[in-house]
């Protein structure tokens, strides 16, 4: 197995496109065929995958319920205002 990759920078870009589901099937097939023979590419793939998963699963927060309620109330108020104003202008 290769322990250094001469085109690792390009490989990283392909890895990211694969994980983002933006790579072509040819790019993906070519990378997967060579991955097992290249340690830096394997480690790079694992790192990019872990980072993407960690952002997705560990970095999200929920919208505070009172903000949700406040926006609903504000929209309701706008509807009331419209229903009052429409007869005045028509």
């Amino acid at each position: 197995m290769k322990t250094s990759c001469t085109h690792h920078k390009e490989c990283l870009k392909v890895i990211q496109r694969i994980l983002d589901k933006e790579a072509t099937s040819a790019e993906e097939a070519q990378f997967l065929a060579n991955k097992d023979q290249c340690l830096p590419c394997q480690e790079g793939y694992n790192l990019e995958q872990s980072l993407k998963n960690a952002i997705k699963t560990k970095c999200s927060v929920s919208c505070p319920s009172d903000l949700f309620t406040r926006i609903e109330a504000k929209l309701f108020l706008v509807l009331i205002l419209i229903s009052i104003l429409i007869p005045l202008f028509c």
């Binding site: 983002d20 480690e43 995958q49 560990k58 903000l67 929209l75 104003l85 202008f89």
Partner: protein, 194 residues
């Protein structure tokens, strides 16, 4: 009335129903994005609220059946750039330099990421640690990482939301990830993880 629902071809009741059906499911995502952009809970709340009112006002330009989340995110991003970013601070010099390189596609100056950060180290990190590293990035890089990795927009959707060419999406995302990995490596070293 034009102020309330601009140039409306749909009744306010229909507009309200459309809003609830199409936009309310994306409130968590909007709040997340706003919080990561502003780094401030109160500003994030105001930004989401302003975005919702703006979306309601211009709801006539939304085509039902199209991707509501992308439409909302575009309004939120524009709102942030036009109003909130001015309030906090202008973009840093680093930000300008990085973005300029992304736009001109000058990637030769960027070294390949060679840090000793391992997947296992990232797996063991807490959400707060990763969030702090993301929030320390210049805003344009923060934005693209959130859109791609947290919200899972396609490159094409991100290009539309950010109003940049798809090639810039690719290069900016790659640079953002390089910066993030460097920041996490520095953090991991300081904590003795690596």
């Amino acid at each position: 009335m034009d102020i309330l629902v601009e140039n409306s071809k749909i009744s306010p009741t229909v507009a309200h129903a459309t809003f609830k059906r199409e936009f309310f499911p994306h409130m968590d995502a909007m709040y997340n994005f706003a919080l990561k952009l502003t780094n401030d809970v109160d500003e994030a709340r105001d930004l989401v609220q302003d975005t919702c009112m703006k979306a309601f006002r211009f709801i006539h330009s939304f085509e039902p059946g199209t991707y509501a989340k992308a439409w909302l995110f575009r309004i939120l991003k524009n709102n942030f750039i036009n109003d909130y970013r001015k309030k906090s601070r202008g973009p840093s010099k680093v930000e300008f330099e990085w973005v300029e390189q992304s736009i001109t596609g000058d990637e030769d100056s960027e070294p390949a990421f060679q840090a000793d950060l391992q997947a296992e180290t990232v797996n063991e990190m807490l959400g707060d640690e990763i969030t702090a590293a993301i929030q320390a990035l210049p805003v344009d890089f923060r934005m693209i990482i959130i859109l791609c990795d947290l919200e899972e927009f396609s490159y094409e959707e991100m290009a539309r939301i950010l109003n940049i060419p798809i090639g810039t999406v690719r290069s900016r995302l790659h640079r953002a990830r390089t910066l993030l990995k460097e920041a996490l490596t520095t953090y991991a070293r300081s904590k003795g993880y690596v």
